[in-house]
């Protein structure tokens, strides 16, 4: 009988340890904590280009995350991306003229939505729309632009140098 | 006799004189024909032995009776039911009424002696622990191993293991026990003990016993009926007295233990001289 007890305790420890490990993976390792508090309100913004923005990317104000991207859909009337963001309910005092831009964390990092509060007295309501948006900066375009400018500018300098 | 049985446990279906009827049994293992038209009758309440030289498929016969193997032709009727025609459930119900004592004992090595004997009771009944304990101790007492209840099979001698297996075989009070080579490899004392147990259990519990063996001497002492199988056929049957005076060359060779006779000393081979010259 004692043996049976030892065995059952062993199995109890085993199952408890296994579940504890699963809970630890869920709570401590993954982003479960980040989207359990889904209560909040939604606002939308339209971008010409969202770059590498994904669902569940961060939405920040002054660098602090206040919400996450809930969905991204393509509007084939205006050829724009409509980004719906879920903002935590305690941050309900965003001015109506808040602007949104898609930025990159570091040079090669994740892309996120940065909100810049404006000066309006009225606040964005749930379901509200952000009018001022700035699309993602596409690195390839920038590099291309830079090279183009450089080539054009460099050519000018050469001409200048050749003139006298 | 009947009083020993528990009311709830399975008892025999009918009171046919014959508990096992085998007719025209044919069984082949691959290309090797083991039984070729065997008829055997096992009378109820008696000890019947099935003898034969090694390799005649005596163990196979027990498995055929237990429904573990399917014959190629013929029928095996146990207690009025054809073991190959009934459903799996019915076969399992039938098996609760018969036991097979394996040559090795086939005890569960991870269970103690007590738990081994308790196993069929735990599987097939919902008895309270105290009654179960009494029953198990009764069965162990019958084989004289009540004191060994806490040992593991690994701690038992071969003879003790067989007695524990016997206690387990009678746990459900079957109507029939089949013994597979019960005397093989045992010392004379153990052989005596097992013989006595077989006879005693058969008579006190009102069992039918089938013993498969080639130990002629022991069998003639305890059997009521004997069958002799050789070359896939029954070559003789009768009481031990009949068999001792049989005219059949097969039976005489076997009963007297002659090295050569109908069962040849030599395995079939090409001519000896030719064979030796072939290598040169």
């Amino acid at each position: 009988m004692m043996q049976k007890r030892t065995m059952e305790i062993g199995v109890g420890v085993f199952v408890a340890a296994g579940i504890a490990a699963l809970v630890m993976l869920a709570m401590k390792v993954s982003n479960l904590a980040a989207f359990t508090n889904q209560q909040g309100y939604e606002i939308t913004a339209r971008f010409e280009n969202i770059g590498g923005l994904k669902e569940r990317s961060a939405v920040t104000v002054a660098g602090v995350r206040i919400g996450r991207v809930k969905s991204i859909v393509f509007d084939d009337k205006d050829y724009e991306a409509v980004v719906t963001m879920n903002i935590e309910s305690q941050h309900d005092r965003l001015p109506a003229d808040t602007s949104a831009s898609i930025l990159t964390a570091g040079l090669l990092g994740e892309q996120y939505v940065a909100l810049e509060p404006g000066g309006d007295e009225a606040f964005l309501k749930p379901g509200g729309d952000i009018k001022l948006t700035q699309s993602a900066i596409i690195l390839e375009k920038m590099v291309g632009q830079f090279l183009f400018d450089k080539a054009a500018g460099g050519g000018g300098k050469k001409e200048e140098g050749a003139a006298p | 006799m009947q009083a020993v049985r528990q009311g709830a446990l399975p008892v025999s279906n009918n009171n046919d004189e014959l508990i096992v009827k085998i007719r025209g049994l044919r069984f082949a293992h691959g290309a090797r024909v083991i039984f070729d038209g065997v008829d055997i009758d096992i009378p109820r309440g008696k000890i019947t032995s099935i003898m034969g030289p090694s390799g005649t498929g005596k163990t196979t016969l027990l498995k055929l009776i237990g429904g573990q193997l399917q014959p190629n032709a013929g029928s095996v009727v146990v207690d009025g039911e054809d073991v190959n025609k009934i459903s799996r459930d019915a076969l399992f119900r039938l098996r609760k009424r018969m036991s097979l004592l394996f040559q090795t004992g086939a005890l569960f090595t991870d269970l103690t002696v007590f738990e081994n004997v308790a196993f069929p009771l735990r599987e097939h009944t919902r008895l309270p622990e105290s009654i179960l304990r009494d029953l198990v101790l009764m069965k162990l007492e019958a084989v004289g191993l009540r004191g060994a209840r806490d040992l593991l099979p690994a701690e038992l001698s071969g003879g003790m293991a067989r007695r524990v297996a016997l206690a387990r075989a009678i746990a459900l009070d079957p109507m029939m026990i089949m013994y597979d080579e019960p005397f093989t490899g045992q010392d004379p004392i153990t052989v005596g003990v097992i013989m006595q147990l077989i006879r005693m259990l058969n008579d006190t519990l009102g069992l039918t016993s089938i013993i498969v063996s080639h130990d002629v001497h022991e069998l003639t002492m305890i059997c009521d009926h004997m069958y002799m199988i050789s070359g896939g056929k029954v070559v003789g049957h009768g009481t031990p007295g009949d068999m001792a005076h049989s005219e059949s060359g097969w039976v005489r060779q076997f009963m007297a233990g002659l090295p050569d006779g109908p069962v040849p000393f030599h395995y079939p081979a090409p001519d000896y001289a030719d064979d030796l010259l072939a290598g040169a």
């Binding site: 340890a17 401590k28 | 394996f102 005890l107």
Partner: protein
């Protein structure tokens, strides 16, 4: 040439025959599972020998793998100045791949081989046959509890492996190499997704547990009932489980993470 073709043919036939037998066996085992419902004690006893006795091996291996990942990952990441991503690297490697796969391989070696040997020896010593003659179905009494215990144990063991591994990576990365503790956890949490990573990892380990337990009990039940047969079956369990787990891992990974 003809000999070679004949050998190929007979090998293929026997492989298909085994596969067929294995599948039929699986169906019979699945059909036997409901009989366990009134008898949880049988499963608990097997959880002990399959799960509890494998736990120490899994925990120690997980800790070691996590520590090595921490060390190697740090050495690579520090060249790019992104050693803060160490937590992410350790956690993703463990949760997505190493946890389920290595735990399944260890499981095959520790528990699978023991299951095969046990069932094979029970067959060789006629215990299974004896059970049948006692009107007890060995599939219900012996095979099914071991099979289900394998399936239950595997995800728990894989989770332990991953969790302990993350702690091992934390210990080396933060404790010894000086990665910032906050960055370690926050980078990990921001990149490890509950559904995409953790849940997929758990699904993998359930699938691996199913396959490992299936192979182990089948090899045992199908073993040639003698010493050599059982030893061959035990070897086959480990080898076949390893191949099956690695092959399935590729397929599952492609299905789960392929379209990112």
């Amino acid at each position: 040439m003809m000999d070679w073709l004949q050998r190929l043919g007979s090998t293929s036939l026997s492989v298909f025959e085994r596969l067929g037998r294995g599948n039929l066996f699986l169906l019979r085992v699945l059909a036997a599972l409901p009989s366990l419902v009134p008898r949880p004690g049988l499963v608990i006893a097997q959880l002990y020998s399959v799960g509890v006795l494998s736990m120490m091996l899994i925990v120690i291996s997980g800790l070691n793998v996590g520590m090595v990942l921490g060390l190697q990952g740090y050495n690579t990441l520090v060249d790019f100045g992104s050693e803060e991503s160490l937590g992410q690297l350790v956690a993703l490697s463990l949760v997505r791949e190493l946890g389920p796969v290595v735990a399944a391989l260890l499981f095959a070696g520790r528990a699978g081989s023991a299951l095969t040997a046990e069932i094979g020896l029970m067959k060789a010593t006629e215990q299974l046959s004896g059970m049948e003659m006692m009107a007890v179905d060995p599939l219900k009494r012996v095979v099914a509890p071991r099979f289900i215990a394998g399936i239950i144990s595997m995800p728990l063991l894989a989770a332990m492996f991953s969790a302990v591994g993350v702690l091992g990576g934390f210990f080396v990365g933060v404790g010894l190499l000086g990665v910032d503790s906050g960055a370690f956890w926050s980078q990990m949490q921001s990149k490890v997704d509950l559904y995409d990573d953790i849940l997929n990892g758990v699904i993998k380990s359930v699938v691996f547990g199913f396959v490992a337990a299936w192979i182990a009990v089948f090899e045992g039940y199908d073993a040639v009932p003698n010493t050599e047969g059982v030893s061959r079956a035990t070897t086959r369990t480990v080898v076949h489980t390893a191949f099956a787990v690695l092959g399935l891992d590729f397929i599952l990974t492609a299905l789960m993470f392929g379209n990112e």
